[in-house]
């Protein structure tokens, strides 16, 4: 695959994940703003999310989208700061994507299923 084509695919992945995240963040912000009204406690959080397939699927989609979007955004910022693109930056961002995906899905498992 040519470098130009790869960059085009990465741009598309960034924008597609942004569109998914826009919906997820609206729901997340609304949930947070309402949830903190009665004070945050583990019982409140887990009472809402534990055993809920809807929340599990929602947060899993949220995590997958953020694991795509955040490393691509950081890649753009860093490549402009250091004024170069290269394999080291790409592998570092791929590692960040994996860390976010694994950490995020673990958190989703913790609050919805475990």
């Amino acid at each position: 695959m040519s470098a130009a084509r790869r960059e085009a695919y990465l741009w598309l992945a960034s924008r597609a994940s942004a569109a998914v995240l826009a919906l997820c963040v609206v729901v997340h912000l609304a949930t947070m703003i309402v949830a903190v009204r009665s004070g945050l406690s583990a019982a409140d959080i887990l009472g809402r999310t534990r055993g809920s397939t809807t929340w599990a699927v929602f947060y899993a989609v949220f995590v997958i989208a953020v694991a795509v979007h955040a490393p691509l955004g950081l890649r753009s910022v860093l490549s402009e700061l250091v004024r170069r693109q290269g394999a080291l930056l790409d592998w570092t961002m791929a590692l960040l994507a994996l860390v976010l995906l694994a950490g995020g899905l673990r958190a989703v498992f913790a609050v919805t299923i475990a």
């Binding site: 609206v26 019982a43 995020g104 958190a107 913790a110």
Partner: protein
């Protein structure tokens, strides 16, 4: 007038443009949210070891400085959301340059509303 080369990023003329401030806010909020995410996931994962572990951390967040940081994070999340939607509409719907100052102000307004609503709800209700 500065004689510094523009290649060094020392040309400040663009800073007077609303688009530059939108760009800067989107960058700063994106980087900050990315740095925050691993900590957020770690805290939520504490539920694996029991609700008490998560509760212990939630009590720690009652400190004023932590509360203030949460409000800033909500502002940044609202700003990144609204700023990201602005970018998507520019790229995919061709929203005009003439609208940009108003759109940038809207982005900041949305972020401020999110942060203030969150802050108001954080305060104890009788």
């Amino acid at each position: 007038m500065s004689s510094m080369p523009r290649e060094l990023g020392l040309d400040w003329r663009a800073r007077g443009h609303s688009g530059w401030w939108a760009f800067a806010l989107h960058r700063v909020s994106g980087v900050a949210l990315t740095l925050f995410l691993p900590a957020h996931f770690y805290v939520l994962s504490r539920a694996l070891t029991g609700a008490a572990s998560l509760d212990a951390f939630l009590r720690w967040t009652d400190q004023p400085l932590v509360r203030a940081s949460e409000i800033v994070l909500v502002f940044l999340l609202g700003a990144h959301l609204a700023g990201g939607l602005r970018l998507l509409f520019i790229e995919f719907r061709g929203w005009r340059a003439a609208w940009q100052p108003g759109l940038v102000a809207t982005v900041i307004g949305v972020a401020a509303i999110c942060a203030l609503t969150f802050a108001l709800n954080l305060t104890p209700h009788p």
